[in-house]
Symmetry: C2
Subunit: 233 residues, 2 copies
DNA sequence: ACAATAGTGTCTGTTAGACAATATTTT
DNA sequence: AAAATATTGTCTAACAGACACTATTGT
């Protein structure tokens, strides 16, 4: 068996929206073993016949649960990176998942923390293995789906305003989004029963109060729109 | 190493369009080793430190090349399936790819052949492991992308007609597609430099001759349209 | 001329985007 | 009343779909 086997892991790119800063943050975890012991890295677990998982998806859920006591709003497999160079111990595979968390998500202990995605992209924080690449790929998936789906709404709390939905979408896409377009999409989601109008109002410091929307229980997966958000111009 | 390692393979869902039957076919290969020796299954290779591949993508290309001497028009990773049950030998992973082949693709020898996708879906041919599931997932990916991209055109020969493009798109989607919409998409692809009008004509048995389009060299990946093809009604 | 097939033109509906107009609140 | 902010309405553009119309060929 050892001659035909390979090291395999599941790694999680778990994102949280910082509503004040209007930026995405990624959950990192201090490594508890060599190589790169003590460094900040993506939370992940080894998968093999001895671990208790019945499937990759179960291993992904376990990685989030064990390393960070986190239950995601959304979890999807993005891809698998495998080559001879990504791990100093030799040929290895990482199947990596995109997880979207509640913005109120808090973490226990000093072994896990959220880092601004921008700081990671700018290499202000350097990650071991190819974890920077895995984060980049997960974010590309998120941006691509945000053009034509309601995926960004999974980054919002149960009750949210139009402007918070706009903030989430813009953070996912990395660019501004037309206010009218997003409002119309929310209207369509309301008609489709995906979100509801609570009737509640939030009073900003000044001006007209904001309507408060809420997520409604529905089938799995985001709503798919027929058209993409377009580049401005 | 053996205690933390797992069996991993790359499997290829390679599709060819049968233009006459207007159906998709999948490339299968007779297994050369246990388990399921001699049965028709997806072509694939084991990945581990001893195989010569530097990456998963290289392993995928090698699987197609070694098992079937095939060079695909398009190759993309779809996902990874991993659990304790898919292989009788124990916990295993399969990273599976979607490959699109030239319809003129021919095969050497008795060890590989094309099977109609419909027959596989209808369980007229039963595949080992979870290969039926991998095929289903790959086809779902193809159908999803066919709604908003030029991916089906990779199933066509270098020179093709509008009706062949329609046939390819309908085979990918599993439903009829509006003729006018597809013609307009081809016009847009022509404007974008992805296809060209050869000026050549093909004379059907009766009636007006068909224009012949051709693929033009361009950046990797299919063209992305801004809107999806819609359900009929 | 007529049948058969390919291709074009026109109209409708939907929805993203731009932006003006209106509504609701605090100061 | 004025300022600030949120929300609504109106207009345009792009594009999928439906379908009528025209074009080109063989018999």
């Amino acid at each position: 068996m050892s001659s035909i086997a390979v090291m395999a892991s599941v790694d999680i790119v778990a994102l949280r929206l910082d509503l004040q800063a209007q930026r995405l943050q990624v959950l990192l975890h201090r490594r508890e073993r060599e190589p790169h012991l003590g460094q900040w890295a993506l939370p992940g677990v080894i998968v093999n016949g001895r671990t208790p998982d019945n499937s990759l998806d179960a291993a992904a859920a376990r990685a989030l649960q064990e390393k960070a006591q986190v239950l995601p709003r959304h979890l999807e497999q993005v891809g698998t990176e495998g080559n001879a160079f990504r791990d100093p111990r030799g040929w290895s595979l990482s199947t990596y998942y995109l997880a979207l968390l509640d913005p109120a998500q808090v973490l226990d202990g000093e072994q896990q923390a959220f880092f601004d995605l921008d700081d990671l992209s700018a290499r202000k924080v350097v990650l071991p293995f190819d974890h920077a690449l895995l984060i980049q790929r997960a974010c590309e998936r998120l941006a691509a789906k945000s053009l034509y789906s309601s995926l960004p709404l999974y980054l919002l709390p149960a009750r949210f305003t139009v402007l918070e939905a706009l903030t989430a979408t813009q953070a996912c896409l990395g660019r501004t989004v037309n206010n009218t377009s997003l409002r119309k999409r929310l209207e369509r989601l309301k008609d489709a029963g995906w979100v509801g109008d609570t009737g509640e109002r939030i009073q900003p410091r000044l001006g007209r109060p904001q309507q408060v929307y809420e997520h409604l229980p529905h089938a799995n997966g985001p709503f798919l729109f027929e058209r993409s958000l377009l580049p401005e111009g």
